[in-house]
């Protein structure tokens, strides 16, 4: 997936002399769209993160610039540090689970057995459900008094009394990770399946004639040939997970206390519940910077592997 823009770029280079302006004309609507609907909000967000934007000043045209005060305020707030920590725990936890299981499922469904396709289709349903629905379902399932998880575990005598899954920080975070992985696994599976299908079968044939074991085939052929797909899956997964909002907001609202507060919910609360728009924007900018760094690392690895 990620290499396609580069291929298009390559073709464009060859044909540059002929249709340079036509080419630019084709991308122009997209560029304008991005500048207006993506570029402007980002810049606006950066601007108010340096301004004294609160309930009192929101409407004023010339809000005072207050330098880094908003950033100082949020960095001094222990909840902010915790929400960064939570965001990383959540993201890395989700990535590990959804990538490993997604990869395993992708390998499994690439075997051409009967019903492979319909079952794969069914697995994807969890990804297509609105996140709010998923969040509510998991909230009910993990409820202390009437949740099905507690009922099952009690009947299996694994636990003696109902566990308040969403009532203490550690377990609440674990439940969030499980819920998100349920959505993320099919997403990872889909991307990796596409990659797997692009690996020509004769490579495997040649390898098995040379006496390579299945394990060797996996690590020497599948993984290296799949590397661009793996990279883009991980980065896309990271971006999508890191900016989580709806799932956390619906399931725990960042609670109990602030034990599942992530950057996006922290920013939302500052802006839309406490009307500290400047500070909310500052938190969103921190989120932006984190993702920007990840995206840069990704591009660096991609362009390196292209040179190879």
């Amino acid at each position: 997936m990620p290499d396609s823009p580069f291929q298009i770029g390559g073709i464009a280079v060859k044909k540059r002399e002929k249709g340079r302006w036509v080419g630019y004309a084709f991308v122009l609507p997209a560029v304008i769209y991005m500048l207006v609907f993506i570029g402007y909000p980002i810049i606006y967000n950066w601007v108010i993160s340096f301004q004294d934007a609160t309930a009192y000043t929101l409407k004023d045209a010339g809000r005072a610039f207050i330098g880094l005060t908003n950033y100082q305020t949020i960095f001094a707030d222990p909840t902010f540090a915790r929400s960064i920590q939570h965001t990383f725990i959540y993201t890395i936890g989700c990535l590990i689970i959804q990538f490993t299981l997604g990869f395993a499922l992708a390998m499994f469904f690439s075997k051409k057995f009967t019903l492979a396709k319909p079952i794969r289709g069914l697995v994807v349903i969890s990804w297509m459900l609105p996140v709010t629905v998923t969040a509510l379902v998991f909230k009910f399932m993990f409820s202390q008094d009437s949740g099905i998880i507690n009922t099952i575990l009690m009947n299996l005598h694994i636990i003696d009394e109902p566990v308040g899954w969403l009532l203490s920080g550690g377990t609440a975070m674990a439940v969030l990770i499980i819920a998100n992985s349920w959505v993320g696994i099919p997403f990872n599976m889909l991307l990796l399946t596409t990659g797997l299908n692009n690996i020509p079968l004769d490579v495997y044939e040649a390898a098995s004639i040379d006496g390579a074991t299945k394990k060797q085939q996996f690590f020497m052929i599948t993984v290296p040939l799949l590397k661009p797909t793996i990279m883009s899956t991980l980065v896309l997964g990271f971006v999508l997970t890191f900016k989580v909002f709806d799932l956390v907001y619906v399931m725990t609202g960042g609670g109990p206390v602030d034990s599942t507060e992530v950057l996006s919910t922290y920013s939302y609360k500052l802006s839309f519940q406490q009307f500290q728009f400047g500070q909310g924007a500052a938190a969103a900018c921190v989120l932006f910077v984190c993702l920007f760094i990840v995206a840069l690392i990704y591009l660096r690895t991609i362009s390196k592997s292209e040179v190879d």
Binding site: F6, I38, A55, T132, F242, S259, F288, A295
Partner: protein, 427 residues
């Protein structure tokens, strides 16, 4: 070089997803937003020469909302100059739309707001100053406690729409079976809970969620103990918090209350999983629907053993939004808040009229549960008014959550909340 350009573009677009995500909020509400945007078009005269007024409220369409719509329809038919278009948005979404609307200019003509938040939105510039219109109208019969939440900087930014307050709902059958009298004090409540808590049934359901509802529900305990929002580190305030903590620790109240909204508490009570609950009159219609056979009654929230009954005033206000057609909007809100209309609507949506000239006693003569709320109301204390109420409230519900979940002890949590609140007031 070319590649680098493409690369930078990609990075930009990928990271942009994050901000789009922040702004988008929950995907479930997209439809509402789209609908809201349609409704927000500037009030304009249509083909018939009627002026169209948009009215945003958060009375959910399946319950209170239909009565709101009926009233709006009646207004539309009563005259042929103004056409009101009522639009439901979930509360959180509506609040977000106001904030966005201040910057983008896309506000409705008339909007509803939760009364403790009214000050903040008035300060933000969401609502028009209607002091003159109100004073000239000659109809100023509103309860002091209710209309005071519409004032900011001595100017009036709206009218009270409906009032509510909290009481103790109890399941008659369960209390009879356990041989328990209706508790009136904290110790009686504890004793009652002890007798009523059984396998699968909790004595009491409350909401201690981390939003305004959690604060609202904590207020009766706080006020009855003699504590106050301005002095959360006092012994009285701490006593109230310790009491709640005790109820949860003894297993009388489910520890899940930290994730329960008041609507969730109602579900517990309706399904018999709680013998009593703290809730308000807006739950009457829900209870009638969820548990038509449930026999319940209402009493005052039990008072501290050496304190008085206390309750917290809740409710909504409506205001005319900035940039709206003020005359036409005033026409509508003064009609819907007139004596007879207010009494009628409030009764059907489970509110008490905020008007001082509505005779609640005769209106609710045949409804004992309503009468209890009508008796509680005059003493119910309002929250704020203060433009920093949202932050103040966050300090309170956070403390409550910390204490109930055991993250902090009562002293530490309340002292911290008191410090936060003192910091807000010095700003």
């Amino acid at each position: 070089m070319k590649k680098r350009l493409v690369a930078i573009m990609m990075v930009m677009s990928m990271t942009a997803l994050t901000l789009a995500g922040c702004g988008g909020g929950d995907s479930a509400s997209t439809d509402d937003t789209a609908a809201a945007e349609e409704g927000s078009e500037e009030s304009s005269a249509d083909a018939d020469g009627k002026i169209t007024i948009s009215f945003w409220h958060y009375m959910s369409t399946d319950k209170e909302g239909k009565f709101v719509q009926e009233a709006v329809d009646e207004f539309n038919e009563s005259q042929d100059e103004i056409y009101v278009e009522a639009q439901y948005l979930p509360r959180e979404e509506l609040m977000k739309q106001y904030t966005i609307g201040v910057v983008s200019g896309e506000l409705p003509d008339v909007g509803m707001v939760d009364n403790p938040d009214h000050n903040s939105y008035a300060a933000m510039g969401v609502f028009e100053d209607i002091t003159d219109l109100y004073e000239e109208s000659g109809d100023t019969n509103f309860l002091e406690g209710s209309i005071s939440s519409c004032y900011y900087d001595d100017k009036l930014y709206g009218l009270p729409w409906g009032n509510n307050c909290l009481g103790l709902f109890y399941n008659k059958q369960m209390l009879d079976e356990a041989g328990v009298e209706v508790p009136t004090t904290w110790s009686e409540l504890e004793a009652a809970c002890e007798a009523l808590t059984k396998d699968g049934t909790y004595g009491l359901a409350i909401s201690a969620i981390n939003n305004e509802e959690g604060t609202f529900q904590f207020m009766p305990w706080l006020l009855s103990a003699g504590g106050s929002v301005d002095d959360l580190s006092s012994a009285e305030s701490k006593e109230a918090m310790s009491y709640i903590k005790g109820l949860v620790d003894s297993g009388y109240v489910s520890s899940e209350c930290v994730n329960w909204t008041q609507a969730d508490a109602e579900k517990q009570f309706a399904s018999g999983k709680a013998a009593m609950m703290i809730n308000g009159p807006w739950q009457f219609s829900g209870l009638a629907e969820d548990a038509p056979d449930l026999e319940y009654a209402v009493a005052q929230v039990p008072k501290a053993d050496n304190g008085d009954y206390a309750s917290c005033l809740g409710g909504e206000n409506i205001g005319i939004c900035t940039g709206a057609n003020v005359e036409a909007s005033w026409e509508f809100i003064s009609w819907i808040m007139s004596k007879d209309k207010s009494a009628e609507i409030c009764k059907s949506i489970g509110r008490l009229s905020p008007r001082s000239d509505v005779d609640t006693e005769s209106l609710y003569a045949d409804e004992p549960n309503w009468k209890v709320f009508a008796e509680i109301m005059p003493n119910a204390q309002s929250r704020g008014p203060s433009p920093s109420w949202p932050e103040l409230s966050a300090a309170i519900y956070n403390a409550q959550q910390q204490v109930i979940t055991g993250a902090k002890d009562v002293d530490a949590a309340m002292d911290e909340a008191a410090t936060t609140i003192a910091g807000l007031e010095n700003k």
